[in-house]
Symmetry: C3
Subunit: 494 residues, 3 copies
C-alpha cells in the first residue's frame, strides 16, 4: 500500500492498535441483547449438526485419491473466482494471479508471489461473505492466529503449508472432521463417474454422490454440441441417431447416476422458459442440430422442451430437479477468451418465472412425485413470483440464496422476502455450492448463524415462540435439505 | 406428524415445555427498548380508533341476514385461500380439505375432519401473517386459550362452535364489537345490491357500502362477456347495443351504486396499460366483441381505454378509482379447472407503471376531482415508479401493501421504500381486503402496530419528532383512509 | 390547517407541547447502544473532512459574481423540485408557488406569500430526506431556532433575509465555511464556461471545475438538435459538416473543459444501450439528423454509439465518464409544457445494464485508462447487475444512490445490496448532485452519518473490525470520491 493511496490513507494511523483476531463467537448476530440471546440459544442447537451438502462443485477425484493438497495458493485463492474477480476489478492483472491462459501464454508461476498479492489486496474483500468464510477457514481449519494482510501473508502461507503435510489434512480426514453426512458433486451427463466408483470401491464410508447435469447436450446451437452428443452416446452405450434415442441415452445415464447414489439433476439456462413441443418439432430441431443449423431461438425452444422431459423422467426415477437460471455466462469476452469459463465474468440478468414455468408446472407441478428446486440471481422475484409459486405448487421448493446472494445480507433478505408467503417448509435448506472444499464448514456455519438470527428476531418480536423457532432452525440447518433431496432415512442424528 | 419426519423431528423434545399462549402485547415491535417504548406510546393512541374498511370482500348478505355463522371450518379455514394454498403446497389434497369441485365430484364433507387436518398442518403457517391474524382472532374474538395444533384442534373447534351459537357472535354484533365505522364490499357492475338494500331497509345503523367493479364487462375476449353485458343491461335497464350505450349503462350503474353509498370503483387488470381510443376504434372493438372475435390484444386495448373512461366518469360522479394490476389469475389450470377461481393459484407478474399509466395521468392526473389509488404485487415498483408518481400527480394515492405483501415485513418494506419520495400523505391508509370477516380486527391491529413501529424507528433515529409521529400515526390508522375514500365528515372520532 | 382535515386532526392537541427543535447529534444512527456508540466514533473521524463535490448542478455564475443571495424563497424553495413536487402532489398549484410559466402567464410574485405556503405544507415532507436536509440547513447555515411550519414561516423568512445581507453569507464565504475542497458543475458541451474563466481570473482560491455533458448533441431525433450542433460548432471553432467533424468538435471541447479543470463527463440516457456502429452507419445517421429525419430508434442507436465514442475519448484524455440512465423526463406533458423541464415530473423506468453495457465493457471495460461511474434509479439492479459488473470490470465504479435514493433509507439499501458483491472499493464515494447550494453540507453530513451507521452495524455484528471500519469510512467520505474523479494529489487532508 502506498501512503499516498487516498482510499487507504488511514491505515498507518489505525494499524497502531491491531484488533484481536479471529471469528467472534457472536458474529452475524443482531447486537440487540434480546435478539442476540435468543440467537445464541437457537444456534447452539444447530451448530454441531452434520452437514448436508446437496449441491456443490467439489472435485470427487480429490476424495477418490485422498492425496495431500499441494499448497495454499491453488487450494484457497486462484480457483476461487469470488476472490479473483475482486482483485481483477481493482486493477490486479489475471496473469499476475497465475490464472492459466487457454493459449498457454505465460502467467505467474510462483504460488508464493501470488499469495503475497492476495495478502496485499485482502482489504478489498471487507464486508463480503468471502472475507467472513476465509476468516473462519483460516482460524478453524488451519489454526491461523493472525489477520491476513500484506505483512502477514507469507507467515500464514508457511503455516498452512505445514498443516497440509499432515495426515489430519488429507481430504477424507477433513471430510470427517467437517462432519459431512453427504456431499453431492456436479457432473456432466456423459461423465463416467470413475471417481465416484473409486470412492465406493475404496471401502471408505464417506457418502459422496453425483448430480446429473446435462446442460451441454441441450445447447443445440453451440459448436461443442456434436462432441457432447458423442460423449453421451459413448457413456450410455446408446447410439444417438434421433430425438427418441437422445431421450433413451439420457434416461440410461440418469439410471447410471442413480446407481452411484445420485438423487438429483441440475439445469442451468439463461431464461427458465418451458414449453412442450410435439414429437415432430423435437425431431426437426434434433435434425437441424445435427446439421449445425440451430439458431439461438431454436436452442431456446429445445431447452424449454428438455426441461419438460427432465421433469417427466423425474416422475419415474425420482431425481430431484434443480433449476439455476439467469446467469449470462462469459459476459467479458476478452477474459473468457483468454482464461476460459468460471473466471468471474458471469453476470446476472432479470429473470421471469411466472409465465416461463407455467407450461412445466401445469403439466407436472401438481404431481407429488416431482420435486423442483428453484434458484434465482434476481431477488426481485423472491416475493413477487417465487414465494407465491412455492406457496402453491406441491412440486416446488425454493433453493437457498445463490451465488452473489449466498451471504449474510442475501440470506437475510431471502428469509424476509419469502417466509410470509411460502413459509419455511417450502424452502430447501442450505447448500454450499462451492468448489472450495475447505470453506464448506464456514459456509454452513454462516447460514446457520443467519437463520438463527432471523428466527431470534421473530421470537423477540413475538411473531413466533421459541419452541417453534427451535424446530424451524433444525429443519433449516438439516432436515429440509435432507428431505428435499431424498437423502434416505429421516432419523435426526442428534 | 410422524416421528420420522425430518423437518419436524425436534417437535417431540421441545413440546415438553409448551410456551405461554396468546398474542403478546408488544408483538411486532422492535425489541430495542428505545424503539419499543415509543412504539407502545404511538400504538396506544391508535389501537382503539374505529375501523375504516374501504376495500374488502365480505359478503354483504351475511350482514343483511344476520344469521348465526354455521361452524368454524367454513368460517375460518376452507374459504381462506391463504391457508388452503399453504397446505396444498405441502401435499394436502384440495379434496381432503373439502374445497367444492366445479363438477360436483365428492370431497370431504365432515367439517371436523377438515378442521383436524388444519390443526395437523398449522405449523406450516409459521412466520406468515395468516398465523399472526389467526392467533389474535382465536384469542380476542373467540377467547381460545390454547395454541392451535393437531392435539388441540378439536377442543378449539368445539369452543368456537359454542361461541357461534350465542347472540354476541351474530354478524352485526361482531361488526359493532369490531368498531367498524364503514365497510365497503366489492360488487360486480351488474349487481342488484339487494343485500345492501336490505341492510338499509332494516334500520340497522351499520354503514355497509358497495364498490363498483366492472372488470367482467371489459374482458371482451372472454367467453362470458355476452352474459356480463346482458346482466349489465338488465340491471341498468339500458339496452346495450353499441359502445355508447355500454358507457351509458355503466354510468347508470355507477349512479345506482352511489345511491347506496358507494364512494369507489375497483379495477383489476394484468397490465395497467392505458390508451385513449378514438370513437371509431371503440365501436369497432365493441362490434368484434359482439361477434366473439376479440383477441387478447383487442382486450388489452379495450381495457386500456375503459380505464380512461372510468377516470373520466370519476371526474363527474366522484367515485374514487382503485387499480389492482399484476396478478395472473388461475395460473394452475388443473386446480382452477377443478375448483374454480380464488383457490390460491393466482401468481403475480412484473408490472410497469411509468409508461403504462402515462396516457391516463396526462389526461386526468392533474385534475383534483380524480382520486386514483394504485396497488401493486411488484415491490420493485415502490421506490422506482409508484413513489415518484404519487409524489407528483395530485390525483394519485398509493394503496397499502396488497395481498402477499399485506404482512409485517411487506408493510415495513412499503414504508421504507415509499416514504422518502412520496411522504406519508400520498398514501391511502390501510384496508383489510378480506373475505374473512372475523379476521378484520386482527388485520387492522397488525397494520397499526407495524406503522407505530415504523414511526417509532424514525423517532428513535431522530428523523421525526414524537409530536409529528403521533399525528402521522393517526392519519395512517384512520384519517387517510377516510379522506382518500371520501367517507364523509372528517371529524376525528376520538 | 382546517380543524376538519382528517389527516391533520391530531395537530391541535399535540402542538400543545412542542418538542425541542434542531438536528439531534445522534440523528440517523441506530438506537441500539452498541451500534450507536461505534457510529458516533466512526462519524467523529469523518464529519470534519473537506467536501469533495464531483457531481452537482450549482450555477458557477453565483460563485463568479459572488453577489448576495436575494431572498429565501428562490434560494431554498422554488427551485427545489423535490419540495415543489410534494406540494403539487397534494393539491398546491404550481402558479401559487410562483413557478414561472413558459408563456409568461402570471404566477404568484410575492416571495413572502409563497414562503407562507411552504410553511403551511411543510408537514408533507415528514420522513423525507428533504426535511432532514432542511432541518440541518436552517439550523446550521442560518441559525434558525424554531421548527418550520405555518406559524413560524414568516419569522424564519425574516431571519434568513437578515442573514443573507451579511458578508458571511456571500457565496464564496459559504463555500469556504462549508469546507468545499472541489466543486464540479454540470455544463453543456457548447458552454463557453465564462463563469469558470471568471472564477479563475478572480484570483479566488476556491476550486470550481466544469463537467462535460454533451447529451443534447446526441439527441438526433429532437427538434433542438440543429441548434445544439450550431452552438457546439461555434464554441469549438469547428465546422460540423459530417460525423467525423462532430467527433473532432467534441474532442476539442473536452480539451477546453479539461483546460478549466474538468475531470469528468456526464451522460444521461433513458436506456444505457451501447453498440459500436460502423463509420458508414454513423455518417448515415448524421445525415438523416441533418435532414431532420431521425426516428427515436435512430436516436437510440446514435446515443449507443456515442457512449462508445465518449469511452474511447476517455482513454486518451482521461475524463471520468458518468452514466445516469433510466429517467423518463417530462412524464407530465401538461406541467412540462407549461413550466418547462426539471419541475418534478421526471419518473424512473426499469433499467437493464448487463446486456446493454456489454458492447462498451467488452471494448473498453478492461482498460485501466477508463473510469466509468454507473448510477441508477432502479434499485433492483444493485445486487443483480451493478454489483456483479463493478465487482469484475476494472473500469467500473458504482456511483452513490441517485436522486430519489439519495436518502437515509436509499443509502442504507445501497450498502446492504452492493457491498457483499462489489465491496466498498468499487464504489465512488458520495456526491450531492444538487443545485441547492446551501444544502451541500447537510447532504454530505447525512451521507457520512449513514455510512458510519452502516459500518457500525458491521462492527457490532463482528463482520468487520473497528480499524477496518475507520479506514473504510474515510474512503467513503473522502478518499474514494477524490480518487475516482482524479482530483489530484492524494494526500489525506486531516
Amino acid at each position: 500500500m502506498s501512503s499516498t493511496d487516498p482510499v487507504r490513507s488511514r491505515s498507518a494511523a489505525s494499524s497502531a492498535g491491531p484488533p484481536a483476531f479471529g471469528p467472534h463467537p457472536d458474529r452475524f448476530f443482531d447486537p440487540d441483547p434480546s435478539v442476540r440471546r435468543v440467537a445464541r440459544d437457537i444456534y447452539a442447537r444447530t451448530k454441531d449438526l452434520p452437514l448436508i451438502c446437496p449441491h456443490g462443485h467439489v472435485d470427487p477425484a480429490m476424495l477418490a485419491e485422498n492425496a495431500p493438497f499441494p499448497e495454499p495458493t491453488a487450494l484457497i485463492f486462484t480457483r476461487d473466482h469470488y476472490i479473483v474477480r475482486m482483485l481483477y476489478s481493482r486493477g490486479v492483472r489475471m496473469e499476475s494471479v497465475g490464472i492459466p491462459t487457454r493459449d498457454g501464454a505465460p502467467t505467474e508461476q510462483d504460488p508464493r508471489k501470488v499469495w503475497q498479492l492476495f495478502g496485499d489486496h485482502y482489504y478489498l474483500l471487507r464486508g463480503t461473505p468471502t472475507a467472513a468464510w476465509l476468516e473462519q477457514e483460516f482460524a478453524d481449519v488451519f489454526g491461523v492466529r493472525a489477520p491476513m494482510n500484506g505483512a502477514n501473508a507469507m507467515a500464514i502461507y508457511d503455516e498452512i503449508v505445514e498443516k497440509l503435510a499432515s495426515p489430519e489434512f488429507l481430504p477424507r480426514a477433513l471430510f470427517e472432521r467437517f462432519r459431512i453426512e453427504v456431499l453431492a458433486t456436479t457432473d456432466k451427463a456423459s461423465d463416467r463417474l470413475l471417481a465416484h466408483q473409486a470412492i465406493r470401491a475404496s471401502g471408505w464410508s464417506g457418502r459422496v454422490v453425483p448430480t446429473f447435469r446435462p446442460d451441454a447436450v441441450f445447447r443445440v446451437a453451440t459448436p461443442g454440441w456434436h462432441d457432447e452428443i458423442g460423449a453421451l452416446a459413448a457413456a450410455s452405450g446408446t447410439a444417438i441417431t434421433d430425438f427418441a434415442s437422445l431421450l433413451a441415452a439420457l434416461a440410461q445415464q440418469r439410471r447410471y447416476f442413480r446407481s452411484l447414489g445420485a438423487t438429483a439433476s441440475d439445469h442451468a439456462v439463461v431464461e427458465p422458459y418451458t414449453e412442450w413441443l410435439e414429437p415432430a418439432d423435437t425431431q426437426r430441431l434434433f435434425e437441424r442440430a445435427q446439421r449445425g443449423e440451430c439458431t439461438d431461438a431454436d436452442q431456446r425452444r429445445f431447452e424449454a422442451h428438455m426441461l419438460m422431459e427432465m421433469a417427466r423422467m423425474s416422475l419415474d426415477d425420482g431425481l430431484v430437479m434443480q433449476l439455476h437460471p439467469g446467469s449470462l455466462r462469459d459476459h467479458n469476452a476478452i477474459i473468457a477468451g483468454r482464461f476460459g469459463p468460471d473466471t468471474g465474468c458471469d453476470i446476472p440478468v432479470p429473470t421471469e418465472y411466472t409465465r416461463n414455468l407455467q407450461a412445466l408446472l401445469n403439466r407436472f407441478g401438481n404431481d407429488p412425485r416431482l420435486t423442483l428446486v428453484l434458484f434465482t440471481l434476481d431477488e426481485s422475484t423472491y416475493a413477487r413470483e417465487l414465494a407465491p409459486l412455492a406457496g402453491h405448487y406441491p412440486a416446488l421448493r425454493l433453493g437457498p440464496p445463490w451465488w452473489f446472494h449466498d451471504s449474510i445480507e442475501g440470506m437475510t433478505r431471502f428469509r424476509h422476502a419469502v417466509t410470509e408467503t411460502a413459509g419455511f417448509y417450502n424452502t430447501a435448506g442450505f447448500n454450499d455450492d462451492t468448489r472450495a472444499f475447505c470453506s464448506i464448514p464456514a459456509r454452513h456455519d454462516l447460514a446457520r448463524r443467519v437463520d438463527a438470527n432471523f428466527l431470534a428476531g421473530l421470537v423477540a418480536r413475538h411473531v413466533m415462540d421459541i419452541t417453534a423457532a427451535h424446530e424451524v432452525a433444525h429443519a433449516l440447518a438439516y432436515g429440509l435439505a435432507k428431505e428435499t433431496y431424498k437423502f434416505g432415512d429421516t432419523e435426526s442424528p442428534a
